[in-house]
Symmetry: C2
Subunit: 342 residues, 2 copies
């Protein structure tokens, strides 16, 4: 089976050059998978970039649009331009079955609003959420929402829990993933009214392995397989973790370069440092799906480079191969039916 | 001048043994500073602990109370027991001038509520805030609030900015500390209504070096000298940073112990790793003042050990030496008068 991917060629800080180079890296590393790419955006620019990669060019098509969704456009304006914009057309390709997934590094708000309208939501889910997969002391943890939903009701948080649980089952291959709700303390009485009410609802769900409140440091400790939070705190927590990782690597570099023994030790242990660097490279964790949609829409970090964008493409490929939407839909349907009969 | 410190002997997960040992470490390391300690709590237990340290015992007094503020007591109940509890008596010692600062590793909510009632708030400040001082790529950054105020209005955030600016001037010795407001993006339109309104107020303050919105990773990048946020997101961000630092150190250990070259490199560069360990030891950053009070009240992390508690004592000593309250009061008075005339 050939997997066809719709790419927003104009999204991301580094634009078409990054997107096309990223597709080329993904193609080179797609061992045994037959790929096709549809690039949506300004034809002349995309054409110039594609010429650099002969093999990629052969399996790619360009769909031109004069209306480009930039980072400055507000979601409401993006929705008005609808299926005529390059991003709207890319999403529509998935809805029509011409592509199996869409990937963009562009305007998050516009991308989400257009995806919601064009691809539609799963039954029982009101708003899409962005999950991130973080490395932890004992494996991986799914955290959501990462910034798609700034103001959340308790009901939104419950939906995130259902989607996050289904996502972790699918992704981490765990039968009964544990779920924690992010808060300022793990005691039952802590936090604001929103998390209190959400926790009350979650405790009532018979088939959900809800472990109560977790704290900021429990994310990377891997206390639960899934961590639920609103998009405001979630975005801040994720970026704080990225920043802290950078700081510790900086401290390490300073410590080693500050003495002769440090320098010699570094040279000898270099492969180990390289392994550490690779393991904590944020580009490897790039590529977040919009959970809750009836189609696969992957969001790449806007500031990423071609390597990071290639990873977002790989995330999309893996989801297509796993029959992602169908599996999530079945699990969410089961959990929401339980939530409603409560 | 002798500095007298009031210690809540019963607070913290490790209790009187930790508090008394911590005081002993602080005493040993207080070169040239004349200290006295007042221990508030159960006399018999404190006495037993004090007997272990002859020199400490000589400069210490025990003030007995049968009413102990534990972690299980709610703030409202603590307030009712008021000045009769061990914690209330310790705070009162500062109000009466018998001690220059109070230090507790106990119940945060009760400690803050009692401090607010007994020590009173500075003019123009409605609620106390807890700042943390974090290491960054280029120095140090003050972040507040760290969990004292879960639900915040725009006015609360503005007060945090005024207090944080005054604190950073005092602590970091910077003439015009830059101030950022934590948000999910640095663009002016991002975020919820609370941060939007607070940013609007802050932009109008003529004497405040307000730099607009900052993101989670800007904290440890040191983008601004002060980062303002509500206690919910602030607590999560701080703990997320602690957790991420732990994860990277764990990855480093795994990477080095996974190969012979890694192990040899580690042995040779050991002093450098030791320096890294020391620099990122969270115990060294223990001890947060309640900002906005008319007296010095320092909160130690509840889970700390004697070394961490000694550091909280050192924070208190340094504040007494710097005439902290008077300086903060003057600066906050100047800034709030500008805020009011706007």
């Amino acid at each position: 089976m050939t997997i066809t991917l719709a790419l927003d060629a104009m999204g991301g800080d580094a634009g078409p050059e990054m997107v096309v180079s990223g597709a080329n890296i993904a193609l080179q590393e797609a061992h045994g998978v037959s790929l096709r790419f549809l690039f949506f955006g300004q034809e002349s620019i995309i054409k110039t970039e594609l010429k650099k990669f002969e093999k990629l060019q052969k399996i790619s098509s360009i769909i031109h649009s004069d209306i480009i969704i930039t980072n400055q456009i507000k979601p409401a304006a993006a929705v008005r331009s609808g299926r005529k914009s390059n991003l709207g057309m890319a999403i529509e390709a998935v809805e029509k079955g011409e592509a199996q997934a869409v990937i963009s590094a562009g305007n998050t708000g516009a991308y989400m609003a257009l995806s919601k309208i064009i691809l539609k939501m799963l039954t029982g889910i009101d708003r899409p959420a962005i999950p991130a997969i973080l490395p932890t002391l004992n494996g991986k943890t799914v955290v959501l929402d990462l910034g798609a939903n700034i103001d959340c009701t308790p009901e939104n948080l419950v939906e995130f829990a259902l989607m996050g649980e289904a996502f972790a089952r699918q992704l981490l291959k765990i039968d009964h993933p544990s779920v924690g709700l992010l808060n300022v303390g793990s005691e039952e009485l802590k936090g604001n009214a929103t998390v209190q009410t959400a926790a009350h609802f979650l405790r009532e769900l018979p088939d959900l392995n809800f472990q109560g409140f977790v704290e900021g440091d429990d994310i990377t400790a891997g206390k639960t397989d899934v961590v639920i939070t609103d998009g405001f705190s979630g975005n801040i927590a994720l970026k704080a973790i990225e920043g802290a990782a950078r700081l510790i690597r900086h401290f390490l570099k300073e410590a080693l370069s500050g003495s002769l023994r440090g320098k010699i030790g570094y040279v000898i242990a270099k492969p180990a440092f390289k392994a550490l660097q690779n393991r904590s490279d944020p580009r490897l964790y790039n590529g977040a799906v919009f959970l809750g949609l009836k189609g696969i829409a992957v969001k790449s970090h806007g500031g990423t480079d071609a390597v990071g964008f290639a990873n977002a493409i790989k995330v999309a490929i893996s989801m297509v191969q796993q029959n992602f939407i169908r599996n999530i839909e079945e699990r969410v349907a089961l959990l929401t039916s339980q939530a409603e009969t409560e």
